[in-house]
Amino acid sequence: MTRRLKEVDAVLVGMGWTGSIMARELSRAGLSVVGLERGQDRKPADAFALPGIRDELRYALRQELMLDPAVQTVTLRHDDSQIAQPVRRFGSFLPGDGVGGMGTHWNGQTYRFLPSDHKLRSHLSQRYGAKAIPEDMMIADWPIGYDELEGHYARFEALCGISGKAGNIRGEIQEGGNPFEGWRSGEYPNKPLKSSQGGVLFAAAAKSLGYHPFPSPAANASNPYTNPEGVKLGGCQYCGHCERFGCEADAKASPQTTLLPVLAKDPRVEIRDLAYVSKLNYDRKAKRITSVTYVDLRTGEELEQPAGLVILSAWVFGNTHLMLHSGIGTAYDAKTGKGTVGRNYCYQINSGAQLFLENEELNPFMGTGALGMVIDDFNGDNFDHSGLGFFGGGYVTLNTLGARPISFRPVPPGTPAWGKEWKAATAKWYRHGATISVQGSNYASRGNHLDLDPTYRDPLGRPLLRMTYNFTDNDRKMSAFVTGKAAEIAKAMGAQHVGVRARSGDFDVVPYQTSHNTGGTPMGSDPHTSVVNRYLQSWDAHNLFVLGSSVFPQNAGYNPTGAVGALAYWAADAIVGKYLKNPSALIPA
């Protein structure tokens, strides 16, 4: 027996970055808001305190802040000739869990996408001819131009107090910033972090090769900062425990350190944790969602929360899964190319070159999640792709993220994995090893998609989401090319040994690669090829808005959170400025 609750103005499914931003904006507009979050509401002052938060085994290996695959996972197959198997342990990607979501345990690398990433298909068609784009490469223009989104990127950066150096202020190229980036209305809110020795050496080598190094834009506050919400962030301690950990210094921008303190005091906002949403209840005829059904994980009771406005802010898998399971829109069929939900699923093609500098003291344990020097010379279409046989690219960076020793134990190529020789090499190189990483784009491919698995079920009895995904030849060629540039820089740094690892072969769910999964509910201008319109409003239910990287039509060679935050503000503006005045489809289907 489902207990029906009193209707509220808006209900949000998922209380990570996008849910927190939207809750704040809707409350500001006077709406009553309920945020439903499957995981726990952890209190940072207690849950992320010293000394326990510096526990690599607990947080990095046993993944305490991540989603438990027993609660929700996906199945995987490389192509539709295979029978998918469940991802029983998370490895290559780590979905978040709890209030704050992945914003709790991210590194904080906060980029904007290039203006050309916002109009990818028309840009590449114009420069190389429409025929140069492979037939099965389903890249698309964003329905929102970079110029339209600039102010929203800036707003998210101000919320987080991003530390960085602008490269382009209103068209003026700035010394020391990224000369390839789109224009900015102003400088970053906080100055860049202090560089590591590895970063200094990387920048010098990159410059000597004619490239354009700049400091990684970081949501690790270089100095204490008060954001426009009046919330104070602390100064980063360079502890080397960002990714997979909470921040005890309140220096890493997260929902907890930027927005949740405001929401906690807001009488119009109620966050219910341990609330596992099972379904959106869809009135097909009226083209609207009437309510959301969820299970209270404390009691097992099923509840129904009616709302005038429904926001899906449950990350890539949750958003796509709930749309498919609730029967909203048409599931994408890779054979016919028809249908849209589950389309354009992408990942990221990451690789790197490990380098060993015998005579340099790198103190690799002094770091932050976004401490690095970067070049953007080989990202997106910042370089000529004529004759290369692929599109896309990635930034190349030397990050000093910390050197937690269970996972960070660099040894030169050819060293055994155990025994006397391994020990000697580990002791010798631990302080002298670094990695140059490539954050590579991933362009949508016809065969890569998400749908419902016919066999495996989750604890609520629903079919699991099924991922059909593999790397493409475009990805492998791109990775070989850009990883070669990383190796070139490593050699220019004077490394005695360089281990080059371009991405090749098939996608494997075991080794960690990135949690930058995207797509499944792509945005677009055509309801036949997209799930949401340019305001991130569902084409099939006018009171449903979908937030997060699930709306990307393809993935760029950048960490997605900057664009995700900007899009959340963009959608909030559309809801408050347009939708609430006349609740209906903002763009006719």
């Binding site: 027993a70 301690q237 003291e361 103190n363 134990r409 994995a417 025994g419 020990k423 302080r431």
Partner: protein, 239 residues
């Protein structure tokens, strides 16, 4: 050699150098840590004989032989078992990890396809139990002795065969077993000592990892390009 250490070697199998001789001298503290912590490293925690929560004597002996072959005693650190690696594995397998926490366990089951990772119907405790039994059976059939009764050269040959997947175990892939085993051994060697391994922070001393509190805001520039050293501190030192 004390009775206690002889008993340990009986239990764990492959003995090595005694701890005191192998610990490198503690590096001087570069600066006073922010949080209060003892200025002297704690005395080695190795006690007279390890006790196990869930491992049988034969399982502990096998794992001791593995730990001491993967992490042999030398001037850089004591042996794996002297660093507590077997105790670490015992505690992990006896707890939530061994019971299959954070694993999707619903069927049906099939052997893993390329790229899908862990597909065992067994939780880690059952998997390691079956793996150890298969490995010992294979060692006896191949070399005439269980792993812990082989000499060091023999143990290296046996582990290399498992690493390459050339050891034909009954019912379990030796390569998969080896990968999981190597991971647990390295976790036991490098994790915070609160889990029972990495006694006296031996691995952190070996590589020069300072541990806690890791507050380097005022140090990253001051020590840039210079070797920063600190007597390593663990969670227990601040608790």
């Amino acid at each position: 050699m004390s009775d206690a250490i002889q008993r340990r070697q009986f239990l764990i199998g492959a003995g090595g150098a005694t701890l005191a001789a192998a610990v490198p001298p503690a590096a001087p503290a570069a600066e006073t840590p922010l949080l209060s912590a003892p200025s002297q490293p704690a005395a080695p925690q190795q006690a007279a004989g390890d006790s196990f929560q869930i491992l049988s004597a034969a399982e502990a002996a096998f794992l001791g032989a593995v730990a001491d072959t993967m992490i042999p005693a030398d001037g850089l650190s004591p042996s794996g078992s002297d660093c507590g690696v077997v105790v670490y594995i015992d505690r992990q397998l006896a707890g939530a990890y061994g019971a299959g926490s954070r694993i999707y366990t619903a069927g049906p089951f099939q052997p893993p396809q390329r790229g899908t990772g862990w597909q065992s119907p067994l939780p880690p405790l059952g998997f390691f139990r079956a793996g150890i039994a298969a490995a010992d059976h294979w060692c006896v059939a191949t070399y005439g002795h269980s792993l812990d009764h082989l000499d060091e050269a023999g143990r290296i040959v046996a582990l290399k065969a498992m690493e390459k997947g050339e050891a034909s175990f009954q019912g379990i892939a030796s390569k998969l077993f080896f990968v999981e085993l190597l991971q647990l051994v390295m976790e036991g060697f490098f994790s915070d000592p609160i889990y029972g391994g990495n006694r006296d922070k031996a691995s952190w001393r070996m590589v020069g990892y300072p541990g806690l509190p890791a507050t380097y805001r005022e140090k990253i520039e001051a020590w840039r390009g210079k070797r920063y050293e600190q007597d390593p501190q663990s969670i227990a030192d601040f608790s």
